[in-house]
Amino acid sequence: METGSARTGESAPGEPVWTGLPPGLLRMRRLLLVVWLGILTIASGVLLALFAGPGWAAFALLPLALAAWGWRMLGRNWRSWRYAERADDLLISRGVLWREETVVPYGRMQLVEVTSGPLERHFGLASVQLHTAAAATDACIPGLDPAEAERLRDRLTELGEARSAGL
C-alpha cells in the first residue's frame, strides 16, 4: 500500500517526476488519531457504562468507527500528496476529494522556510513552506525528512536566485 515514498520511475521526457511523502507523516498522524480517539472511546465507554447502564456503552463504538474511518482517510490523504521539481518550477499536488495542484515558478519565490514543531521533530519530520509575493500562494510540503527538506530548501533558493524575478 505505502508506495508513496518511492520515487516514481523515470517517465516520458517533459512529464514531471513525482515524489511522494515519506511514511513518517502518516505514522505520526495515525498515532495521534489512535491515541486521541482511543482515549475518547475508553472514556465514553466507561462513563456511559457507569452512569447510563451497560447497554448504552455500545455508543462508545462510535469513536472507534470514527478512528477506523479516519485511519483510511489519513492514508488516502497522505498518498495524495506529491511534489515534482521541474526545470523552472515546482509542482505540488494534494487532496483526494478537493484536489489542488500548485505550480510555483522558481523565480517567484521570495522566501523558503523549513519549519519543524516539537512533535514533528520527535518523529523526525520537517515541512518546507514557500512564499511568493502573492499571499494566496499556499505552497507547503509537510512531513519531509529533515535532510530532504534542507536539500529542497537549498536547491529552491539556488534556483530562485538564478531565475529571480520578483514582483
Binding site: V103, Q110, A133, T137
Partner: protein, 470 residues
C-alpha cells in the same frame, strides 16, 4: 530556520521576515549598514526636516476627543463644565497646551528624512526610535496628497508605496513645491538616472489620457444601484423603527450611520472622484483627483499587477469602471467612469501591448450542474500577454492579469466538479489578488495550468526592467 529570499536584486535584506522592499531597522542595534546607500565618499547624505506646520497636524485630536465626549454624554459634560472654576480651567490650559506643543515640536524636531542614491531614509521617534529605509528600486507608486486643510496651509503629504510600508512611512507634511520636487527626484532616482543629475531632471512632461467631466460622474453615480439602495435603506429603516418603537434615540442611532453610509457612497464618491484625470508620462501613470482633498498618484511603468473592468447593470453598453491593483498602494481606481473604448485605450497605456479580449470562452454547458444559471456569467480568454476571466451576470467584471505578473498558478477541483469533469484555475498575482477561471473542462484546465506556468516565466523575460530608464 529560514533562508532569506531569492532576492530579486541580490542585495542583503535588512529584515528577512518582513516583506521585501521596506525594512524598518530599530536604531541602537549596532550601526545601520551604510552599504551602497551612502554617498560615494562615505559622508552621510544631507538630512532634511518636514515642513514647520507639521506639529499642528494632530492639534485637532484633543479637541475632537473633548467634543466627542460632550456629544456622547451631554448632561454630564455640562455638569463638569459648571463645576470647573476659572483657576482650574487656566491651570489645565497652562499644563496641556505647552505639553502638547512641546510634544509636537519634539516629534517634528526628531523626524528627519534623507534621499540617498538607492533609498529614502526616514528617521523618527522621540522615545522609540524608528528608521525606515525604503528602497527606491522597489518603488511601486508615489502619492502626493493634500487634505483640505493642508491645501489651505500650502503643504502636502508624500507617500512612497513599497510592499510592506505602512502609515508611519509617509512624509507629512512637506511644502507643496518641495513635495513636487522630491517626487520628481525620487522618481528620477528610481528610474535609474545618474545620481548627480537626478536632482535636476525635474518633472516629466504629462500627456493627458482621460478626464472625467463632473456631469458624467454625477450621472454614473445616479445610475449605480448601491447609491439608491443605501439611500432607500437610510429612509426606510428609521421610519419603520419609529413606528415600531417611538423612541427618538433608537431612530437617530440607526438613521445617522445609515445616512452617513448613503452620503459616503454618493456624495463622498463624487467629491473624491471629482476632476479625475489620468495622464501618461515617462515616469509612469499619473492619476489626479479630488474636489476638497486633492490626491496625485504616480505609478511607474510595470507596477500594475491586475486590472479589473467593472460594468454595473445600469451602465451596460454606456460606461465602464476600471480598477487596478498596485502592490503596497491603497488606491484601487484607475477610471471611475468612461466609455468602453476610452477605458480600453487607458488600459493599453497602463499595460503596454495588452489588448482587452472581446470574445471570452464560456464554460461547457454541463457547468450548469455545478453553478446553475450563473455559470453563463463565467468566461475565460488567454492572449499572448494577459490571462483574462469574467464573472457576474448582472454586474459584469472582467479581470486581467498580465502573464508577467503571475506569481503562482493553482488548479482546484471539488468532488462535484470532478464528477462533471470540470476544474477551476487560479492565477495568483501580487497585491493579494487572485484571478480565477471557474468551471473549465478538466483536461483544458490541466493544459492551462502547465501553459500558464510557462507563459508566466517567458512573459517575465520580456517585461521592462524595474529601473525603467536605465
Amino acid at each position: 530556520m529560514s533562508t532569506a529570499a531569492p532576492d530579486p536584486s541580490g542585495h542583503p535584506s535588512a529584515a528577512p521576515d518582513s516583506p521585501p522592499g521596506a525594512a524598518a531597522v530599530p536604531d541602537g542595534e549596532g550601526s545601520v549598514p551604510g552599504g551602497e546607500g551612502s554617498l560615494p565618499d562615505g559622508k552621510q547624505p544631507s538630512e532634511r526636516r518636514l515642513h514647520p506646520v507639521t506639529p499642528l497636524r494632530r492639534a485637532w485630536a484633543p479637541v475632537a476627543v473633548l467634543a466627542g465626549w460632550a456629544v456622547h454624554d451631554p448632561g454630564q459634560a455640562q455638569e463638569r463644565l459648571t463645576g470647573l472654576t476659572t483657576t482650574a480651567l487656566l491651570l489645565g490650559l497652562a499644563v496641556i497646551v505647552p505639553g502638547a506643543a512641546l510634544y509636537g515640536f519634539l516629534s517634528w524636531w526628531f523626524t528627519h528624512f534623507a534621499v540617498t542614491d538607492t533609498e529614502l531614509r526616514i528617521r523618527t521617534g522621540l522615545l522609540f526610535r524608528r528608521t525606515a529605509h525604503i528602497r527606491l528600486e522597489r518603488l511601486q507608486a508615489v502619492d502626493v496628497t493634500q487634505p483640505l486643510l493642508a491645501r489651505v496651509a500650502g503643504v502636502a503629504k508624500l507617500k512612497l508605496d513599497v510592499v510592506g510600508t505602512d502609515e508611519k512611512d509617509e512624509l507629512a507634511y512637506l511644502g507643496e513645491g518641495e513635495a513636487r520636487r522630491l517626487r520628481a527626484e525620487l522618481l528620477a532616482r528610481a528610474a535609474g538616472f545618474a545620481p548627480e543629475s537626478a536632482g535636476e531632471v525635474g518633472e516629466a512632461p504629462v500627456r493627458r489620457l482621460l478626464h472625467v467631466p463632473p456631469g458624467v460622474l454625477a450621472a454614473s453615480l445616479l445610475l449605480t444601484g448601491a447609491t439608491w439602495a443605501s439611500l432607500v435603506a437610510a429612509l426606510v429603516v428609521p421610519t419603520l423603527l419609529w413606528f415600531a418603537t417611538h423612541s427618538v434615540w433608537t431612530v437617530l442611532a440607526t438613521g445617522l450611520p445609515l445616512l452617513g453610509a448613503a452620503g459616503a457612497s454618493s456624495v463622498g464618491r463624487f467629491v473624491g472622484e471629482y476632476d479625475w484625470t489620468v495622464g501618461e508620462s515617462p515616469d509612469g501613470l499619473r492619476i489626479d483627483h479630488g474636489l476638497l482633498d486633492r490626491a496625485h498618484e504616480t505609478v511607474p511603468p510595470g507596477r500594475v499587477q491586475t486590472v479589473r473592468i467593472v460594468e454595473p447593470l445600469l451602465w451596460r453598453g454606456r460606461w465602464v469602471r476600471v480598477e487596478l491593483d498596485v502592490a503596497g498602494s491603497s488606491n484601487s481606481v484607475l477610471v471611475p467612469v468612461a466609455p468602453r473604448e476610452v477605458a480600453h485605450a487607458v488600459i493599453a497605456a497602463v499595460l503596454p501591448g495588452v489588448a482587452v479580449p472581446e470574445a471570452l470562452d464560456r464554460p461547457p454547458r454541463r457547468a450548469g450542474w455545478c453553478v446553475p444559471f450563473w455559470w453563463r456569467g463565467y468566461g475565460l480568454a488567454v492572449t499572448g500577454t494577459v490571462f483574462a476571466t469574467r464573472r457576474g451576470l448582472l454586474r459584469r467584471r472582467l479581470f486581467l492579469v498580465p502573464h508577467a505578473k503571475a506569481q503562482s498558478v493553482r488548479l482546484t477541483q471539488g468532488p462535484w466538479e470532478r464528477r462533471k469533469g470540470l476544474a477551476d484555475v487560479h492565477v495568483d498575482a501580487g497585491a493579494g489578488r487572485t484571478v480565477t477561471a471557474r468551471l473549465r473542462d478538466a483536461t483544458e484546465a490541466a493544459d492551462l495550468l502547465r501553459a500558464q506556468a510557462d507563459r508566466s516565466r517567458t512573459g517575465r523575460r520580456e517585461a521592462p526592467p524595474d529601473r525603467w530608464m536605465a
